[in-house]
């Protein structure tokens, strides 16, 4: 585990989460460093998605979820009573397993989140919107491919383009943290590679936490790695070291493919 000297982006302490009466997270303590890519691995059902989703507090869409403990993001406890959900979600972007662009044009998709938080300050200027759209799409390497069809419905793009768009639409809100839940699992190998490269390029500017079932992906595309099992964090360390000399038996077993 790291010493605490490098700045932390996410610090979860004593995090427990229940779906109704089923406890999905047990006492999770996790310190995720700022500006790097951390991958979250573990067998199916161990609570990776649950942890990720509770950092965006999207878990609360379900009426029957109860959470205890604290999650500090850049020093602020996002589970504290006075915190506005909307502000939290804006600074902590989320990318889902299945690309889910909204049924709007490409342009409107990029502007959607930004508009939500900006419209109380009057109507945005058209050129301001254009700049934002271009900037965000350039950043995800999508601009050249779609610049002539910005009014196309986003749901008609290929899955790879859709997933890139789903990343692009978070950028205008200037999030600090990007949470990605198996962002490549619906993509073919070539698209996976493209999206992975993109994620790698975004490192540094954002803190990225990525859930994956793909050991090779975790290994080549993350700097730190967290192994979870049955709702608990088993091991957390530098990726290279963890894949070569895991501290716990369970980690070794999982990495070598002895779990499912």
């Amino acid at each position: 585990m790291d010493s605490g000297a490098p700045p932390l982006a996410i610090e979860a302490r004593g995090l427990n989460l229940w779906y109704g009466s089923f406890q999905a997270l047990h006492d999770v303590d996790l310190r995720i460093r700022s500006g790097i890519i951390t991958s979250l691995i573990g067998p199916s059902g161990c609570g990776k998605s649950t942890f990720l989703r509770s950092v965006n507090r999207i878990t609360e869409r379900l009426g029957y979820v109860r959470t205890t403990g604290t999650i500090e993001v850049h020093g602020q406890d996002i589970l504290a009573p006075g915190v506005e959900l909307v502000q939290v979600r804006r600074k902590i972007g989320m990318v889902f397993q299945r690309p889910n662009p909204l049924p709007l044009s490409i342009r409107e998709n990029v502007l959607f989140g930004w508009r939500l938080h900006r419209e109380e300050r009057g109507r945005p200027e058209p050129h301001e919107c254009d700049e934002i759209v271009e900037g965000a799409l350039r950043k995800v390497l999508l601009w050249d491919g779609v610049k002539d069809r910005l009014d196309l419905r986003a749901t008609e793009l290929s899955l790879e383009e859709q997933q890139k768009l789903c990343i692009a639409r978070l950028l205008p809100m200037r999030p600090r943290v990007l949470l990605m839940d198996e962002p490549c699992s619906a993509l073919d190998p070539k698209a996976t590679e493209a999206v992975e490269e993109l994620i790698w390029d975004l490192r540094g500017e954002f803190t990225i936490v990525i859930v994956t079932h793909n050991m090779a992906q975790a290994r080549r595309a993350s700097e730190e790695c967290v192994f979870m099992l049955l709702g608990r964090v088993v091991e957390h360390g530098e990726t290279g070291a963890m894949f070569v000399t895991p501290e716990c038996r369970e980690t070794a077993d999982y990495i070598e493919g002895r779990y499912g």
Partner: protein, 320 residues
């Protein structure tokens, strides 16, 4: 089960097995399948036969009138519907059309906001028991017979309108419109709710994860995505209003009149047919004129339903 349903015995090694083992076998499932096919076909075709049959029946009486007696200018241009006049019978349906249109229009003003609002609440906000209770309630509302609605118009809304607006008669466009609006609301609510529920949850999740409030999600994502289905819901409501008879007959005042205010009396196409067909001489001009009204009604509701259907299809095809 026949005897040859048993497991196929292993042939002795070395002998080639013919494939398939018994190519000409017809088992019980085969016969059941055939019988069911015939039954289902008959069921399906009977719908078409009925529609065509009704259309032929109505047209036989109506089209003769259209071809020989009817003066189209008078039919659509005059408000004088005097089929039993001693001097000269006139068949102008302008007032009837205006009656139907104004009552239906007012009904939509009442029921579109009400139904879409209810659908949004049920589909997007209500949870658990509230939601179930509301759905049952709406279904109950749909089960109220139309004559009972007419009753409500006659005995409750009528005095209420007289009291509140200080008018001499409370049987008017307003009365019939409100009653019809309440009648059309259940079907519109149900269909609109289906349209909202058909919007994939991933869209809502995506928007909420970006910090949209529940209402922003509804307004900016769900409603635009469900536009087609909502249009279909509204159209079916219009169709319902257009074809409704008994309640309109009882609540509208049933006076031939071009309504200019909600407090005017009016008469609807449907109500005219219902009230007069029993007295018209079979095969006479009046009788056939009423069938012509029937053709008109039939065509309009058919067109509305067809349009609603294309909206629903469009939605399915685009998957959302």
């Amino acid at each position: 089960m026949s005897a040859n349903d048993g497991p196929v015995p292993h042939p002795p090694r070395g002998t080639p097995v013919p494939f398939p083992a018994r190519a000409d076998e017809r088992d019980r499932a085969w016969f059941v399948d055939k019988v069911v096919q015939v039954l289902v076909f008959a069921g399906g075709i009977s719908g078409i036969v009925c529609v065509v049959g009704i259309f032929v029946f109505v047209s036989r009486e109506g089209f003769g009138f259209i071809a020989h007696t009817l003066d189209l200018r008078e039919f659509f241009g005059s408000i004088a519907w005097r089929p039993t006049s001693d001097k000269r019978a006139t068949y102008g349906i302008l007032a009837l059309l205006a009656g139907t249109a104004s009552v239906t229009g007012l009904a939509m003003l009442v029921s579109v906001p009400f139904s879409i609002g209810a659908a949004i609440y049920i589909a997007e906000f209500a949870r658990g028991k509230t939601r179930e209770a509301l759905k049952v309630l709406i279904e109950l509302l749909a089960a109220i017979p139309s004559v009972v609605w007419g009753f409500i118009g006659l005995t409750m809304l009528n005095p209420l309108i007289i009291d509140v607006f200080n008018v001499p008669v409370g049987l008017c466009v307003l009365n019939a419109g409100v009653i019809l609006g309440l009648m059309a609301a259940p079907i519109m609510t149900t269909i609109a709710e289906d349209a909202l529920k058909a919007v994939p949850d991933g869209f809502r999740e995506a928007a909420e994860a970006m910090g949209a409030t529940r209402w922003q999600v509804v307004w900016r994502v769900v409603l635009p995505a469900a536009k087609q289905g909502l249009m279909a819901a509204v159209l079916l409501g219009v169709g319902r209003g257009f074809g409704e008879t008994m309640a309109v007959l009882m609540a509208s005042g049933h006076a031939i009149n071009l309504p200019t205010s909600p407090f005017d009396q009016a008469r609807a196409l449907t109500a005219t047919i219902a009230a007069e067909l029993g007295e018209a001489e079979k095969g006479g001009d009046h009788y056939r004129a009423l069938f012509t009204l029937g053709i008109l009604l039939f065509s309009v509701t058919f067109a509305i339903n067809l349009l609603a259907d294309t909206f629903v299809r469009g939605r399915r095809k685009r998957g959302g």
